[in-house]
Amino acid sequence: MDSNKCYHCGDDCINNSIKIDKKNFCCNGCKTVYEIFSSNDLSYYYDLQPAAGSTPKVVEGKYDFLDIAAVIEKLTEFNDGNVQIVNLHVPHIHCSSCIWVLENLNTLNPFVINSEVDFPKKTVRITYNSEGISIKNLVILLSRIGYEPYISLDDYDNNKKSIDRSLIYKLGVAGFAFGNVMFLSFPDYFDLSSNAASGGEFWLNEYQVIFRWLMFVFSLPVVFYAGWDYFISAYKGIRSKILNIDVPIALGIVVLFLRSTIDITFDLGSGFFDSLTGLIFFLLLGKFFQQKTYSFLSFDRDYKSYFPIAVTRITSEEKEETTQVHAIRKGDRLLIRNEELIPVDGTLLSSTARIDYSFVSGESEPVLKKVGEKIFAGGKQLDGTLEMIVQKSVSQSYLTQLWSNSVFQKDKNSKFQTLTNSIGKRFTITVLSIAAIATAFWLYYDPSKAMNVFTAVLIIACPCAISLAAPFTLGNMLRIFGRKKFYLKDTQTIEQLAQIDTAIFDKTGTITTLQKSTASYEGMPLSDAEESLLKNTIRASNHPLSRSLYDILSQQNIVTLDEYEEHLGKGVEGSKDENHIKVGSADFVGGELHFDALTTSVYISNNNNYKGRYVFHNQYREGVSEVFKAMSKTLDLAILSGDNEGEKARLEKLLPKLTPLYFNQKPEHKLEFIKSLQEQDKKVMMIGDGLNDAGALAQSNVGIAISENINVFSPACDGILDASKFQQLYPYINASKKAMKIIKLSFILSLLYNIIGLYFAITGQLQPVIAAILMPLSSISVVVFATVMTSILGRKIE
């Protein structure tokens, strides 16, 4: 391993690395975790997967709310006397080391009885003795070893979710019956030319009846349980006057079942039970394949996933007490600690506060608030603690009211007609008219065959292969996209994506990156001594701007400062020899004020003489220009930003000419903007990242959230795109368009089979064995075609 990398978390050890046991650590936090592990026989953690850990965060007071009995009651799955079971979401779970160490929690604390990791869901289920370790201490223990669980209001409100496994049951029933019916109808296949009248196989004639009725029994649960959804869907379709693809399927199932039952009752033939059970089994298989879920992602998050369960309230006796967020009333005094989220609207009591609203408004820079000013829910306090008076309760706050918009109640999918369903109408009409014509023809020539032909047409035309084309093509695309870090909610999203003609982007966090920033210097040049002092002064500061400025400045020797002081929310000062440097806000440094509030700057003065300032710029993602250029060829583009116009000139240079740019857009403005585009019959894709885009993401046809870390913080959306794959957005859209072409080709293929089958049906020669061969053959070839084509397509996209 690289000796400069931290042994625990793998980060670069930038400065003053800590050495212990001949191993490097980037910070004290990592070192502590290593010590905990190695002193508890858990150092195998590092052998299993090198540098798998994460730096533990300071959690002082953060989990005090876990002492409230009502909260414990809601969070635990099981709570009886001493034994409690809790299921915690731990976003950091990512490798086998994580599984191993979390399942060995009992070596760290003997009161942990059992812990079990669910890797795909990134959860750990811990059974523990609550007399020895409280849930609060358990969470703190996890945080101390770098596995901080993510607990939010969402966990509190809907604790126990039941898992829907009905599809697996149905698939099991259908598969079980299909296999058995196939065996039971096997003898019939070998006895095609003969029947009981012409002699035939003796024992087959003898036991035919029992075989056939057994098949009938097996097909009962398949039709009335496994296939029942198709009847419901067809009924719903007909009632709302839509002939969806389930109508011919349901018709096929009914006819298959009735005709087979009549056949065996009156000894007309062996029936089509094999085809019937096979058909439903394949259909359900398609449904199952389509159902790819990313259990570690959540596509329906609302503000509850972001909000804490409880905050600190200051009582009238000046005591601190932990209160549940739901219990906060107007007029309460709250204490918000550093890095905590403000859960409600209110007025500021502390003299100053620096609040990061990037979550809510998309504004990239923190806002300075003074005493008496209004602060809004969703902001994050950045410097120290603040006190506030509550003005509105949680559900009435400005941010949370966005969720009362009707957009969030509507089910997006119900409005959308899939490609398969849209051909369902034409298909049904065609099949019914062919059946009618063929029956009429036979009524004229040979009435005894008419009923036979009518049912045979409906059986053979049952669009099994057609309804398998989309699930397998799109299901496979979904998996391919997932491997390329583009996670979509369901297969319908791909269909919607293929139809997009307008793409709207958010600015902050979407086309800019939050991880890097650039700065340019304006003012008098700094001497070497000053530059060295500057770098050494900000070295000790943990402020985000100091950190990014530190990375930008050229390498300097580390010197010990004579004097150093950090002023929270203002800046830092340091001195060495005859130089005394001040770095920070304009007020603090006392330089000539550049009153353009649009940019973020760090001002510098030496011995109270103003020297200059570093102006920070948004760092745009790599390839933004190219992505926009490529997309502008086929799509209408626009930028909707909650931020101010400070970046307008730079954006105009970067983007294709005449790209509309809108600034100062409030969350509800964004929603309305999308809505008005849709009223002009545009199919809109919204690409955003924060809660401020939540309304627009829900309103748009396809809402894609860009995320630097897919495990945390993405608002409700149809898909999540890993930020590193931003440049691939346009190829992804094109790939989904090609996927739709593959489906259309599969339709043609399956129609060919239908035509062959119809030939047998119309001429009255349809034997059960022909149906039993043709139906699986067409289904399998369509499935193979769709899978192979999408895999080729997947290999082409990066």
């Binding site: 026989d41 858990l42 669910d118 890797f119 795909p120 869901k121 049951y169 099991g172």
Partner: protein, 71 residues
């Protein structure tokens, strides 16, 4: 030839038995997480014994002793 009735009953009974086993295993959530068990089965008791003191262990021993005394 009526032996076929016995054979049929037996084969179907066995099939149904396995089918029931499948339903029960789904119901118990055995198919909910199909990844973690595959990793878990490769772990053994890999605790690395070191010479250093174990603060937690000591603590737990104390508590166990205490409990014994009180009983």
């Amino acid at each position: 030839m009526s032996v076929i009735y016995i054979l049929l009953t037996m084969s179907i009974a066995i099939a149904i038995l396995f089918f029931i086993a499948f339903i029960i295993s789904v119901k118990n959530g055995q198919y909910d997480d199909s990844y973690t068990p595959s990793v878990r089965m490769l772990f053994e008791d890999e605790l690395v014994k070191s010479k250093t003191e174990k603060p937690y262990k000591k603590y737990s021993d104390k508590i166990l002793k205490k409990e014994k005394r009180t009983q």
